[in-house]
């Protein structure tokens, strides 16, 4: 039983590490991708039966697409240095948050050891469901244009 709890904790740490690594990957990928995707937001409230998607592309930011492309094909060493700075910053932030959370949970585990569910409501409080209703009240579609990186 005790071994189980250690396994659980280790698994939680591994999962957190994996999650953070994935987060790091995603964020650093975003940092690297200087051709910031032109985010398109156009929402449409529609009837459930209507499946037509309304798409109005809008270029994001003050910059034009062409400016961004110019940036992308600029001095490659400049770009790399800039990315390393961002990646280090993001890695530090992720590590601080991850370490903080895990250390806090360990601290709580000692301060309030054994603070678990005191009432087995799943066995001791049966529910006799009389009415179950799931009514669709709204459908909402957003679209986003994804920029392709033609250089790769």
């Amino acid at each position: 039983m005790m071994k189980k709890s250690i396994l659980k904790r280790t698994a939680a740490v591994c999962a957190a590490a994996a999650l953070l690594t994935f987060g790091g990957l995603t964020v650093s990928a975003a940092a690297e991708d200087t051709t910031a995707p032109a985010i398109v937001t156009e929402t449409a409230d529609m009837l459930p039966t209507d499946n037509t998607v309304v798409t109005v592309p809008v270029t994001g930011g003050e910059q034009d697409d062409y400016d961004i492309v110019t940036l992308d094909t600029g001095n490659s060493s400049d770009k790399q240095e800039k990315n390393w700075g961002k990646i280090i910053l993001i890695a530090v932030i992720i590590s601080i948050i991850g370490t903080g959370l895990i250390v806090y949970f360990i601290y709580r585990g000692y301060k309030y050891n054994g603070m678990t569910e005191p009432y087995e409501f799943k066995n001791k409080a049966p529910l006799e469901l009389k009415d179950r209703e799931d009514a669709l009240i709204d459908v909402h579609v957003t679209t986003r244009r994804i920029e392709r990186n033609n250089n790769n």
Binding site: S5, I87, G98, T116, Y119, K124, L127, K130
Partner: protein, 361 residues
């Protein structure tokens, strides 16, 4: 004087309930008695005392007749065995004479309105409770190294604590807003569709034996989290089970804690209804309505091992469920060990994040 001492039928030495044998045991002549045997001999003592106290109509059960009120929260009685004057708290229902260790049950505090309906006798003996605690400590990696060797178990007390056990039949419903989110791509365009649903769940919830500590005081958190107890060992209440242990009587009335119980049951009802809403990506509860169709409050005594530790000048309290061994309390934390672990963790996370960044460059 209304105290009861359960004495060995063979040698007159005090009897104690033995949690391992699940029998009453005499330490001196090693006689063993079952609850039924004791009941036969003492001629259903509980019932007699109960009738007696009802007919006497004890006005203040905190200060039974023959007891001198001593200071504000303590009461004095005279030990039947050695004649010494013993001081107890107002809520003590079973204790020992501090001079001759004769176990005594203060019967006035367990009769009339204060007679518990049920009791779970101790299933874990004192030595077993200590062994379990130290075995458990060995699995905790951030305990100070010296804790197990140096921790002084100041005292370990087997205490029967009073609980309200609430049976409540509720009828009600929950309204919630739930969402289903779907994304797909056509060419260069990503679409995200959000469907919003109004969800209603209605039905009866039959809460059974919901425990609420019936003793107001410092240990209420520990008394909450030593739960749950297992129903299988419930016995109709008999005072004899308390012999050899400490026991507290309740100091709350139903009206004092009704609001707390209602609030807790509503929280559980919310979780129970919520658990039936599946297959959505997000669920937001809007409202829960609940009304009570039927409610019954039982009064029970439950076994808890209370352990007090001294470590590096600080006191620690640890509580263990006397039936299941489930525990709750504060453990000392090796701050240096945790800090070192934090540093290693930070470096590991940093390297992993950097590795992630590197491969995507």
């Amino acid at each position: 004087m209304e105290t009861v001492s359960y004495k060995c039928l063979n040698c007159e030495a005090p009897l104690q309930y033995n949690a391992q044998k699940l029998k009453f045991y005499c330490d001196y002549c090693r006689s063993e008695y079952t609850e039924a045997e004791l009941r036969a001999h003492f001629g259903n003592l509980d019932q007699q005392l109960n009738q007696q106290s009802v007919s006497e109509e004890v006005t203040d059960p905190d200060v039974p007749e023959g007891f001198e009120e001593f200071a504000s929260n303590t009461v004095m009685y005279t030990c039947q065995s050695c004649g010494a004057e013993v001081i107890t708290d107002k809520t003590t229902a079973a204790t020992f004479c501090i001079y001759c260790h004769n176990p005594v049950v203060i019967s006035n505090r367990l009769t009339g309105a204060f007679r518990p309906d049920r009791v779970i006798p101790f299933q874990i003996a004192e030595q077993d409770a200590q062994d379990r605690f130290f075995a458990f400590c060995k699995t905790k990696h951030f305990l100070p190294k010296t804790f197990i060797a140096q921790a002084e178990l100041d005292k370990i007390k087997g205490v029967y604590y009073p609980y309200w056990l609430v049976d409540s039949l509720k009828d009600g419903c929950m309204y919630a807003t739930a969402k289903k989110i779907r994304t797909w791509r056509t060419g260069d365009v990503e679409h995200t569709e959000t469907k919003t649903f109004r969800v209603k769940r209605a039905g009866k919830i039959d809460f059974h034996d919901f425990p609420h500590p019936a003793l107001n005081g410092e240990h209420s958190k520990a008394l909450k989290y030593v739960n749950p107890y297992d129903d299988k060992d419930f016995r109709p209440f008999t005072m004899a089970y308390l012999s050899g242990f400490l026991a507290e009587k309740r100091n709350t009335e139903r009206t004092d804690v009704q609001a707390d119980v209602d609030k807790e049951l509503k929280e559980y009802a919310t979780r129970i209804y919520r658990d039936t809403i599946t297959d959505y990506d997000t669920v937001e509860v809007n409202s829960v309505e609940l009304r009570t169709l039927n409610e019954k409050w039982n009064y029970a005594l439950m076994p808890v091992w209370m352990m007090n530790f001294q470590y590096e000048g600080r006191d620690y309290l640890y509580a263990m469920n006397g039936q299941t061994g489930k525990n709750y309390g504060e453990l000392p934390l090796a701050k240096g060990k945790l800090a070192a672990f934090g540093v290693i963790l930070f470096v590991a996370l940093f390297l992993l994040s950097m590795l992630g960044g590197y491969f995507l460059l």
